[in-house]
């Protein structure tokens, strides 16, 4: 199996599907000739031409809006939003059209597209190049939301997303775009949507995370192991719909749970997870569920490493929850 980083793996998935299926088109700002600001679409323009790898004007509402029409006609559009911070001019299209088309047409017009967008902090980007808005899309019924943490998952989940009959928001954790390196299966390879991955087994405590923060959670879990705390670490991979069975099975086993995400705390995915765990595993809990998250502020420019829930902030939550 070839070794790839996440950028290469996503590029590989796009290329593979474009070769297989000529309904697949990619559109976005500088995705064509330039190959994307993170080089994710590099080479696709040369291979598939300007009709399939479409450089758009600076017009997020236009990008998503036209992708809706393309999908309704039967294409498989993959719009890219350059940074997830710039998705909001298109929020109306996503919330009012993309998410609701299937439902309000009585199932006649599914709106299958994959909106790819880099997410999260860690590159000193400040307010508008760092945010994690996933919860704002989960809250909109009708969208699936995916966030891989490894290169292989990025490929497998992207191919599954493109073939999924529903619209998918595909968040790419840019902090680990190049750092998340590993073996990636060649050719056709899918990872089923809605399935979490238990990447570390343990009996003391369940740790749930995704995207770039998964690595921080893993690091903290390894350090906790030095204190005899064996964490079970779950990589959600698909943020919505959640793999609730895997989560609940783990929490029933450990009785303790810590959730880690870099998005702001309030009304984040962590809050929903805690509710579900309370509803479905209340009698198994031996400690209050904990969240280690970003802050309820805009993403700051200077205090980035304080804002992010890095390993050193996660570790005390793990030990306290384990010893509660």
């Amino acid at each position: 199996m070839p070794e790839m980083n996440m950028v290469q793996a996503i590029n590989d998935a796009l290329r593979f599907e474009m070769q297989q299926d000529d309904r697949v088109v990619v559109l976005g700002e500088d995705v064509g000739k330039v190959g994307g600001v993170f080089r994710v679409t590099a080479g696709l323009f040369d291979e598939f031409g300007a009709d399939r790898v479409i450089d758009t004007p600076l017009s997020e509402g236009g990008i998503i809006g036209t992708a809706v029409g393309m999908a309704l006609y039967g294409l498989r559009p993959i719009p890219e939003i350059q940074f997830s911070d710039f998705i909001f001019p298109a929020y109306d299209q996503i919330v009012s059209e993309v998410a609701k088309y299937r439902y309000r047409s009585g199932g006649e017009f599914p709106c299958n597209m994959v909106i790819r967008t880099p997410v999260g902090g860690g590159i000193r980007g400040g307010h508008y190049h760092s945010q994690s808005p996933e919860a704002q899309f989960i809250h909109v019924a009708g969208l699936k939301v995916v966030c891989p943490s490894t290169a292989a998952d990025a490929k497998g989940l992207l191919l599954a997303s493109i073939r999924d009959p529903d619209p998918v928001l595909f968040f790419e954790p840019k902090r680990v775009y190049r750092a998340a390196k590993g073996e990636v299966p060649e050719g056709d390879y899918t990872v089923e949507l809605g399935k979490a991955n238990v990447i570390r087994e343990g009996k003391s405590l369940t740790v749930i995370s995704y995207g770039a923060m998964l690595y921080e959670a893993m690091d903290a879990a390894e350090k906790a192991a030095e204190h005899g705390i064996e964490c079970e670490v779950i990589d959600l991979r698909t943020l919505w719909p959640l793999d609730i069975d895997t989560i609940i099975a783990s929490v029933k086993k450990t009785g303790r749970v810590v959730i880690v995400h870099e998005a702001p705390r309030s009304c984040g995915l962590g809050g929903e997870l805690v509710s579900l765990i309370n509803e479905k595993a209340f009698l198994h809990l031996e400690a209050p569920p904990r969240r280690v998250t970003g802050f309820d502020t805009p993403f700051p420019y200077t205090l980035e490493m304080e804002y992010l829930p890095l390993s050193h902030r996660i570790l005390p939550a793990l030990t306290e929850t384990a010893n509660y």
């Binding site: 700002e29 997020e60 508008y128 190049h129 304080e306």
Partner: protein, 322 residues
């Protein structure tokens, strides 16, 4: 006589911005400034000319490429540099960085990172000044790339309908990141957009700061006297990449060299050096600017980092933060 003094002052400002930008690029390369740094090098004549056309109490709103406008409006270079360094003494307490320059003393309403998003709010500022009966004019700068986004059209539509005292200044530097104008707009004369809203328009090249000032002045006068908004397209060029992380491979060196021939700073310096009434002062201005920049860097370097408490306290007024 007046023109000579003006010329020298314009030169000082153009040079200050140029040198500020060169030094921020250097600090960025050394890792002292993070994130995305969009330099104004090549476009200085627009901010300097525009600020010379407005009064102290007027308002200015711009994009993330905002250092030049802030300095031309009179933000102290040290405060600006400290913001780039993310220091507490920066104009936005170090929380914003390069793209978020705000300065209430000079009515500099930011630094905006969402392309086009600031244009409607600029119209709102103009509305408010008109509503309260103050003779203020608002300048709203944007890049030609912002022409396609909805907020741009909503802003112009409202500004024209309500005859607001605002001047939209399109800094057409020919590229929206890696995409040249002709690949992202169906027309390349951006000033034509004004016609759709029944708004006055103008269009010229930014190679001479006097021209920039005078042409913007005419629009500002119209706005101030109640004749409504103007859309001005000013052709310019950025000599560097879109931001520090852009190697600008999408354009040729010969194109860049040709554009540099029109550099308003070099041209003005040449004029000043050829004029016996000004030539002796050029070196002195260079020295003052150099000292000012050195002081700004020193100020930024020695200022304190923001403390953790800033993560919470600034979100709301008062004690609402948890």
């Amino acid at each position: 006589m007046k023109r000579r003094e003006e010329g020298l002052e314009f030169f000082r400002q153009l040079l200050l911005i140029r040198r500020f930008e060169e030094e921020s690029a250097r600090a960025y390369s050394m890792g002292k400034i993070g994130g995305f740094l969009h330099l104004y090098i090549g476009q200085e004549a627009i901010a300097v000319g525009a600020c010379a056309a407005i009064q102290k109490d007027d308002y200015a709103v711009t994009t993330y490429r905002d250092h030049g406008l802030a300095l031309a409006r009179g933000m102290p270079p040290g405060v600006a540099m400290a913001e780039l360094y993310g220091k507490q003494t920066g104009c936005s307490q170090g929380l914003g960085g390069s793209m978020h320059f705000f300065h209430s003393e000079t009515n500099m309403l930011g630094g905006h990172g969402i392309v086009g998003g600031h244009r409607p709010l600029a119209a709102g500022v103009a509305f408010a000044s008109k509503y309260q009966g103050y003779p203020h004019v608002t300048l709203a700068f944007y890049g030609e790339g912002a022409s396609s986004i909805g907020a741009s059209h909503e802003a112009m539509s409202l500004a024209a309908l309500w005859k607001l005292p605002i001047v939209f200044i399109c800094e057409n530097n020919q590229y929206a990141m890696g995409t040249p104008l002709k690949r992202h707009l169906s027309i390349t004369d951006i000033s034509l957009k004004a016609d759709a809203y029944g708004m006055a328009k103008d269009r010229f090249v930014a190679d001479d700061v006097f021209t920039v000032r005078d042409r913007i002045q005419a629009a500002v006068d119209r706005a101030r006297s109640g004749e409504g908004p103007t859309l001005i397209e000013i052709r310019t060029y950025r000599f560097r990449g879109h931001s520090m992380s852009d190697p600008a491979k999408y354009r040729t060196k010969s194109e860049l060299d040709a554009e540099k021939q029109r550099d308003a700073l070099t041209r003005l310096e040449k004029q000043l050096l050829e004029d016996d009434g000004t030539k002796d002062q050029v070196a002195a201005i260079r020295e003052t600017v150099e000292a000012e920049i050195a002081e700004a860097i020193q100020f930024a370097e020695s200022s304190p980092e923001p403390g953790l408490e800033l993560l919470e306290a600034t979100t709301y007024d008062g004690d609402f933060a948890r």
